[in-house]
Subunit: 119 residues, 2 copies
DNA sequence: CCATATGTACGTCAATATTCGTACAATACG
DNA sequence: CGTATTGTACGAATATTGACGTACATATGG
């Protein structure tokens, strides 16, 4: 596991909100919320590798995601347990809001920012 | 009522999260959540007037607060109904998290960033 | 070992955010 | 009207963010 993951108790609300206050990262969380681990490059498209690395860092350091190397890839997953423990209900409320179209991320259930599907 | 307040349907999640991703503004929301209208200058102290104006703008334009002139003062209030309608549960979850100490805003129930009290 | 695939690190660049001081506008109060 | 109070507008200084290209590190697979 990569370092720079804050402990659960170190996760601060303002950092999480700040991290999720970006449409691109909000979209990523929406995709990861499906569960399991996702390959870095499958979550977003049309963005340079270095830009992705930047966003993974923000999400990781704010405590929103786990990032784990696997082979030469890098798997991402939502820190759902920690987030639920620290901010009960927050994730559910956010996902509900995103899915209801209350953001620029997902008008009505699709994932317009990227093709997270594969095969 | 000052202009630049978005309609309820125009309030976007990422803008609200971005606005609340700042400890100072998160604190303001916490204070306003007590209900009613609050005088601009009573919500925060130790910050210049122009800086406050800036933060009111961010909160107003993201749809988090109402701002209403009254005499030579300016009253602020939380757009609770609109936020609840657009992002059901979000405000409650956030306030709960802040009050539980999951942010740098309020360690345990006090309001360390300002003396919002008055007589 | 060598080539390929996958990401990170670093430097750069433009845009945005945060803060402040000063000047100004509007209201209240005498 | 003149003064004080309250807040906005504007410009400046600085920090942070978001994006990218290039170079590098690591693992896979021949």
């Amino acid at each position: 596991m990569i370092t720079q993951h804050p402990e659960r108790e170190q996760i601060l609300l303002e950092n999480v909100l700040s991290a999720l206050g970006n449409p691109l990262r909000l979209h990523v969380v929406r995709v990861l919320a499906a569960g399991g681990e996702h390959n870095c490059s499958n979550v977003l498209e049309g963005v340079s590798k270095s830009t992705l690395t930047h966003h993974w860092r923000v999400l990781r350091e704010s405590g929103v995601i786990w990032q784990r190397p696997s082979g030469r890839e890098n798997l991402l997953s939502l820190r759902r347990e920690d987030l639920d423990a620290r901010f009960p209900g927050l994730l559910d409320v956010l996902l509900e809001a995103v899915n209801s179209g209350a953001s620029s991320v997902a008008p009505h259930g699709a994932q317009p920012m990227a093709d997270a599907r594969r095969g």
